[in-house]
C-alpha cells in the first residue's frame, strides 16, 4: 500500500514539474518576443537613415536653390545617427528627421516638374513605406507587450512570474513632445 502511494506521489510530482516547465517556457518565449520586437523598431529607424542621402540627391537636381531645406534634412540625419543609444536624444532626433523630411516634401509640392518624375514618385513611395514600417514595428511591439502583460498577470502564470522575476513591460506611447505639431519652415 505504501509503495503504490509513493508511486502515485512521484507521478504527481513529475506532472507538476512538467506543467511548471511548460508555463515557464511560455513566459520566456513571450519575453523574448517583446525584446526582439523592440530591436526591430531600431532596424526600421536605421532603414530611414539609409534612405535619406538618395532622397536628397534626387531632389537636389530640381531644387537647387532650396539649399536650406536640403541641408536641414542632411543635418537631422547625422544628428539622429550620432545620438546612438541615448534614448531621449535619439527619440527627439528621430522626430526632427521626420519633420525635416516632411518639410522637404511640402516644399517639393511647389515644383511640379519634380513631383511628376517617376524617380520622385518611387522615392516618395519608399519613404511612405519606411514611415509605415516604423509604425508597424511599434504596433507589433505593443501587441507583443500586451501578450506578455496578459500572461504575466493571469492565473496560473502570475505565480511563476513573481517567483522567477518576469515583469510586465511598458508599451510604446507617444510622448508629449512627439505630439507637438512640427512647424513647417518655408
Amino acid at each position: 500500500m505504501d509503495f503504490s502511494f509513493a508511486i502515485f506521489a512521484l507521478a504527481l510530482a513529475i506532472l507538476l514539474v512538467i506543467a511548471v516547465g511548460l508555463l515557464y517556457n511560455g513566459l520566456v518565449a513571450r519575453r523574448n518576443r517583446v525584446q526582439s520586437a523592440w530591436a526591430d523598431i531600431d532596424v526600421q529607424l536605421k532603414l530611414r537613415h539609409d534612405l535619406v542621402p538618395n532622397l536628397v540627391e534626387s531632389a537636389r537636381g530640381y531644387m537647387a536653390h532650396e539649399r536650406q531645406t536640403l541641408e536641414a534634412v542632411t543635418q537631422a540625419r547625422s544628428q539622429a545617427i550620432s545620438a546612438g543609444a541615448n534614448v531621449p536624444a535619439r527619440s527627439s532626433a528621430e522626430m526632427q528627421l521626420a519633420a525635416a523630411i516632411g518639410n522637404l516634401f511640402a516644399v517639393a509640392e511647389r515644383y511640379p516638374a519634380l513631383r511628376a518624375t517617376e524617380n520622385m514618385q518611387l522615392l516618395q513611395e519608399q519613404l511612405t513605406t519606411t514611415e509605415n514600417r516604423i509604425a508597424f514595428a511599434r504596433q507589433h511591439y505593443n501587441d507583443m507587450v500586451l501578450d506578455l502583460n496578459t500572461a504575466v498577470a493571469s492565473f496560473p502564470r502570475n505565480l511563476l512570474a513573481g517567483l522567477f522575476g518576469f515583469a510586465p513591460a511598458a508599451m510604446f506611447t507617444a510622448e508629449e513632445s512627439d505630439r507637438a505639431v512640427p512647424q513647417a519652415k518655408v
Binding site: L122, E125, T129, F136, Q139, H140
Partner: protein
Amino acid sequence: MSSEPALSSSVGPRDRESFFAAQQKNRHATWRMTALCVLTALAMGIPLTLVLTPLFYAGTLLTADVVSYFNPLPPEFWATMKELATLAVRVGDYFFNNKPLDPQLLAVGLAVLLVPGMLIALALWMAMLALFRRAGVGGAMASLNAREPSPHDLHELQLANVVQEMAIASGLPAPRVMLVDSAGANAAAIGTSPADARIVISRRLLDDLDRDQMQALLAHLIGSVGNGDLGIAFAVTSVFETCGLLGTIINAPFGPHARSTLWRVVRYAFSRGGSGTTAEADGIAALLTGDLDLQSDDIDRFFDTGSHRGPVHKFLAFVFFPIFFTNAAIKFTLWFFLTAFLGPCMALLWRSRRYLADASAVQFTRNPNALAGALRNLTEDSTAIPGGVWASHLFVVSPSQDTSAPQDKPTAEQMRLVARAWAESAPAQPARSSLTTGDYMRCCAELIATQRAAVSGDPTALARMTAFHRTISTLVPGPIAQSLPDPADLTAALRGDPAAIARLRSQQQNLGRHHQTVQKRTGFQAESMVAFHPPLKRRLQRLERMGAHVDWGAKQKWSSTKIIGTTIGFLILAPFILAAGALMLVVVAVMIMLNLLFLALWLFAIHSLFGLLAPH
C-alpha cells in the same frame, strides 16, 4: 445622437467586438469543427470498409488459390479461412436475423470485417500525406507565368513594400510574392509552412485596389499563413486526394487514363524534386480528384459489349466483373459521404479559418474598412486565375469560372486540337492520325516543360512555343485565340522587360471587358454541398462588428407574410430532404450488399474452378 434613428441602423457599442475577441471565437470554432470532421471521417469509414474489406479478402483468396495451384498451402490455412468465413456469416446473422451471438465473438467478427478496410484507407491517407508534404498546396499556380514584382513600376513597388510592412506587423518572415498577369483579380497563399510560403497575386488586383486595401488583403493572407492555414489546407486536400487515389486504383484494371495517373504518382514518389515538383504535385492531385466524378469513360469503354474485342478481353471482362460493382459501390459511397457529410464539415472548418484570417488582418492593419472595401472590390471583378481552379479554396475570394478562358476540363475536341497543334509544332515528328486522352496529358506536361525552358533562355524551346501559338491561333479562331498571350512576350515579361509587361497588361485589360463570369463552384468545392468560401455578406457583417463602416444599401425589411411563407416552405421541404437523405443511405447499403453478393458468387466460381484444376 441621430434625430432620425429609422434611417440608419448603425452598429452600436454593444454590438462591437474587438478583433482579439473575434480571433478567440474563431479559434474555438476551429476546434469544434475539427472534432466534427474527425467524427464524420470515422462515420464515413464504416461503409467504405464494408466495401474494401471483401475486396481485400477476395484478393487474398485468389492469390492463395493461385499459389496453392503451384505449391499447395498447408491445410491449416484453409481451415483458418473457413473459420473466418463462418464467423462473418454468424455476424451477418446477428445483424439481420437477430440470432444470438457471444459478445466476444461479435467483437472479433466486427474487427475481422472492418479492420482491413480501415487499415487500407488509413495507409493510403498516410501515403498521400507523405507524398505531397514536400510540395504543399497550390503549386500549379506558381509555375506558369509567375514573376517577381519589378521595382520600376509604382504599383508593383507598393506591393513589395506592403508585403514587408505586413510581415513586420505580424512578426512573420515575409513571403515571396509572385505576380500573375491574368484577367482575373485574386490572390492566394501557397506553400507548406510559414518559412517557405509564397503569395500568388494577379496584376489586375494592383490596379483595382488602392494601397490601403492591398495592405488589408495581404494582411489577410499573411495572417492566414501565420495561423497555420497552409497545414490545414494540406490536410483537407489530402483527404480528397486519398478518396481520389482509392477511386483511381479501383479504376486501374479498366482504363489507360487511370493507369497513366497511377504511373505519374509512382514517378513523382521517386523523383528527387526540382523546379517542377510542386506543379507536378498539383497536376496529379487534380487528376486524382477528377476521378471522383460518378461518370468514368474508362470503365464504360471496357465493358462496352458492342465493340470488336477479342476473346481474351471477354475473359478478362468476366474475371473483373465484380470489381466493376465494387468500383461503383466505392465511388457512390465516396461521392455521397463526401458531398453530404465530410465535405460540408471541412467547408465549415475552412470558413472559420477564413474568419480568423479576417480578424488577423484587422489586427495587423487596425483598419477594418480597408479589408471590407477590398473584399467588396474583389467580388465585383472576374476572379479566375489560370492554374488555380483546382485549389480554389486557397483564394481569398471564391474564383468564379471564366466561360471564355480555357477551362480546367477541356472538351474532347479541344484536347484533340491542342494535341494536334503540339505535334505539328515539333520540328521532326510525323503527325499521328488519332490522338487519345493520354496524349493530351503528355502534351500538357511537355508544354509546361518547354515553357519553362523557354523562360530560362533556350532558343529552340522558344521557337517551338511560338510555332505552337501560331498553329493554335489558326486552328481555334475567335476570342479564345486572342486570350492566349504571345510566348515571346511571356518570356520577356518573366525576365522583367517592362515593355512586354505593359503589352500583356493591356491585352488582359481588353479581354477583361468581354469576359462573362459564371458563379460556379470550382475545384473540389464542387464536391461539397456547402461552399468553402464564406459568403461575402457574412464576412462584411463580422467586419462591421469589428468597426468597419459598411454601406449595405437599401435594407430589405422582411414582411411578416414573407417570413411565414418561408417557414412553411421549409417545414414542407424538410421531410422531403430527410427522406431523400435516408433514401441515399439505403441505396448505399443496397450497393454494398449487391457488391458482397457478386463478389461472393464470383469467388465461389473461381475457387471451385481452381478446385477442379488442382493436380490432386
